[in-house]
């Protein structure tokens, strides 16, 4: 509760100082990272909501006192209720007004103030929900004296729905707005989640490293994605700490089943990627990069690099029960790509709870069509494929971030783009950028290039990857601008369709339309391919085109670095 109130106080006073600044029209003033860019009317609207929230809290406290003395239904209860509902609607107005900006602007041009306005409005909305949440009455100071009895979220569906709304409010701020804001932002929300889980499950059950301050996010970066680079020593310490925590909390999922390893179709591998014989050390890998002819290293599969990851040992990502335990019992929301491939018609994204994602897309109750017959039409599942892809899951859920370690290899100095210097990005100052790729069998990432060197680590299940060298770019049938969106890093060619592994009914997935002519040409382009086993790491040098296909339930982590 105190956490909420101090946020509301902060927001109120920040808004006040922005508005004062404007009134005085003095020139120095507010920092560009504040919400002042949203204009005085919206700043004032936010300020008003913060004030009303604080006032409401005082009234509720008074009321609680009074109730203790005399059982009395306040005359002004109705108007209190009106105030409450209006406050909630106004916060929703602020959320929708700032959310509209996420679409109106091209993302790279979106002023940070709109992401912060969204985040602050979400923080206030969460605070309001928490304030009026029945179980929260047991929070604040009184909780100390009480055991966790009665706080166990055993059951009321009403309570569950309210909890879901609280989680949703904050998760949307993380996912949609990147939880912008220097004063509160991501740090505040991570802490709020930790506290919320504690209130819900009783102290000691929730294992949330966010609350222990281990994960220190970069708050003010333009993109919400940056990772702090950790020294090896820190990593080791962290790992030890995790293992201890892991032992404590393991009971709930230790004897639970793993994800299905069933595979519907296995592409033949004729031209395998070179596989390093042993775990490559940082020195070995740097030597490999440096010794490559003309500064053009080839892809390489490195086994064993991640054998010590908690995600593969003490904190097994292959167990649904473990992942659920780390996502607030599956309540936390994740963005999911729905559809066969992001270049297909009808492809879309939605935000659903992690539990729902597991239930509906990873291990659906009705088994998929028999894998034994007709592999070439294995995609005939009437149900669409859901893929938690390309998401900075570990920024959103720091408690999972600690199950993996950034490979040392990401701290080597890789060469620049071999053919097109314009592809080279500014140095990732905050260390590698991590993305999660978690989906059922049959996920497809179409043939594309990344703007960085990539270490793709296979944690759970198997994935097929095919790679074409940067030199072949002229023959890769790259797309162009499509509807105002630059798609030049993605090919028209659907490798799975070309090879007859998939059939696509919309007649559009044949790789660009003009029949066999291009196909015969494209088939002549040399490539390499591999199937990544759990624990394998694939090095994809910058500029290499790659097509990725999930063979079973598969969870991979990509590390982009330069």
């Amino acid at each position: 509760m105190a956490h909420c109130l101090s946020a509301a106080e902060e927001i109120r006073s920040e808004c006040a100082s922005i508005l004062e600044d404007k009134n005085e029209e003095d020139n120095g003033g507010t920092s560009s990272s504040s919400i002042s860019g949203c204009g005085e009317p919206l700043v004032q609207l936010l300020q008003r909501q913060a004030s009303i929230l604080l006032e409401l809290h005082i009234h509720l406290l008074d009321e609680a006192e009074e109730v203790k003395k005399i059982k009395r239904v306040g005359e002004d209860n109705a108007s209190r209720q009106d105030t409450l509902l209006l406050l909630k609607r106004r916060l929703d107005d602020l959320l929708s007004a700032s959310y509209a900006k996420f679409y109106a602007y091209i993302f790279k041009d979106l002023p940070t103030c709109w992401r912060q306005l969204y985040t602050d409005a979400a923080i206030l909305k969460f605070s309001l929900l928490f304030l009026t949440w029945p179980s929260a009455a047991a929070d604040s100071d009184e909780r100390r004296g009480r055991s966790s009895d009665g706080l166990q979220g055993e059951g009321g569906t009403v309570e569950d729905a309210e909890m879901d709304e609280m989680v949703k409010t904050l998760d949307l701020a993380l996912i949609l707005a990147g939880a912008a804001g220097g004063q509160r932002g991501r740090r505040w929300i991570d802490r709020a989640f930790a506290l919320l889980e504690e209130v819900w499950q009783g102290p000691g059950v929730a294992v949330t490293p966010a609350s222990s301050g281990v994960v220190d996010m970069d708050m003010d970066s333009a993109r919400p994605s940056k990772k702090r680079r950790m020294s090896d020593k820190q990593q080791q310490q962290q790992q030890q700490q995790q293992q201890q925590q892991g032992n404590v909390a393991s009971a709930t999922w230790q004897d639970t089943p793993s994800f299905s390893a069933a595979e519907t179709f296995i592409p033949p591998v004729k031209l395998p990627v070179r596989r390093s014989s042993s775990q490559a050390s940082m020195e070995d890998f740097q030597a490999y990069l440096s010794a490559s002819p003309a500064g053009r290293p080839a892809p390489l599969v490195i086994p064993g690099l991640t054998d010590a990851w908690p995600a593969r040992t003490t904190r097994p990502w292959k167990k649904p029960a473990y992942l659920l335990s780390r996502t607030f019992a599956g309540r936390r929301l994740v963005p999911v790509e729905i559809g066969r491939s992001y270049v297909d018609d009808g492809w879309g994204q939605k935000i659903i709870s992690f539990g729902e994602f597991l239930e509906q897309y990873i291990s659906p109750p009705s088994p998929s069509p028999s894998p034994s017959h007709n592999t070439s039409t294995s995609e005939t599942n009437s149900k669409k494929i859901g893929y938690l892809a390309q998401h900075q899951l570990f920024v959103q859920l720091p408690q999972l971030r600690n199950d993996i370690l950034i490979p040392d290899l990401c701290y080597t100095a890789p060469p620049l783009h071999p053919t097109d210097p314009s592809q080279d990005q500014p140095e990732l100052l905050d260390g590698p950028q991590l993305n999660a790729w978690f989906g059922p069998s049959g996920t497809i990432t179409p043939l594309h290039t990344d703007p960085y060197h990539n270490l793709l680590v296979q944690v759970v299940g198997r994935k097929y990857v095919r790679l074409y060298a940067p030199d072949e770019t002229p023959r890769m049938r790259a797309r162009g601008r499509e509807g105002g969106v630059e798609m030049g890093n993605t090919s028209f060619v659907d490798v799975g369709v070309m090879e007859g592994w998939d059939c696509v009914d919309d007649g559009n997935g044949d790789g660009g339309g003009d029949g066999e002519e291009w196909e015969a040409e494209f088939r002549k382009v040399p490539y390499v391919e591999c199937i990544l086993e759990p624990g394998d790491t694939l090095y994809i040098p910058i500029g290499w085109w790659h097509y990725v296909r999930g063979l079973s339930v598969s969870f991979s982590v990509s590390f982009w670095w330069n």
Partner: protein, 340 residues
Amino acid sequence: MELYATGFNAWNQLRFEDGGNGLHLHQEPDDIRVFTRVLSDDAIDHVDPFISYTLVRSRPAGGLSFRLRSAGMVPKEHDALRAAADDDDDIYKSQSAKLGHVNFAEASNGFVIVYGRLDTFHQYQSMRDLLSHKYNNNLKETPGTDTTTTQHTFSGFPNVVQLVAYETGFAALSSTGQVWTWGDERYAACLGRDVDDDTSPPNKPGLVTDLEDLPTGPITKIAAGGYTLAALTAGNDLYCWGDRGRSAVILDDMGDRPTPIVIDDNDIADIGVGDQHLIALTVDGELFTIGNNSNGQLGLQASSAASWTRVDLGLDTARQSIVGVAAGSRNSFVIVRNQG
């Protein structure tokens, strides 16, 4: 005449009687959920809703001339622009020029357009950009930070009588009925025309050819809001177009080209377009609304209206008639004339 209003009122932008000054930190003005009379004057001839305020041009009882009245909270940048443009002969002013009523349009992605002499649109990336580069008015802290001018001028667009913004672009109407659109090509459907990088780029004013040579005459009024645009012909036909994906599908018939919109076979006299709602006036004086009603912008009870729904203002039809409508992003306005 009277002004009726309903919908979003977070800055008292529907409350003319208080002048919108009654905002207190501890009291939130609620929305108005049914059409309510908010202003009475001898004459009201123009309503211009902005997100946080409403401008009305009216002649007070017993007054001789029109004046501008506002309700709600006017952003300082808007005041500054009006003040600066008032002294700028280069900028075209509407009929209410003497009142400093400069014609400008501001899209949700920040872009601002003013229409100037020599048949020219001046486009800036933001209001702040316009103020600092055109009027050297550094309203706020921008010393040295943003020195690149992002102005564009588009010439050769004579006799523009209306300039409107939708979420990510603009539309303009000439006195001869030509409609030009331009904006973000990601929402090309809002342009209502062919887009070609060489001959008709999305980000420069381009003629909406589908609105030429219509059966019921040239376009006489345009309106825009959210990702929806609308145009009315001299013969009272309504055409709409826009991005269905982003509009939460307000109009079933809407597509990426102007399409006739039918409201119970009525001829349409006036139209207003909000973020997610529309308000239409028929030549028979009936009022219809459609779309999202989360702030009461439809003047109806339901939370939304999937089809055009008639709204009854409870007017004394013997003596009162509706003469015009307007839509703000989340509110609606109706101008009523009293006979006798």
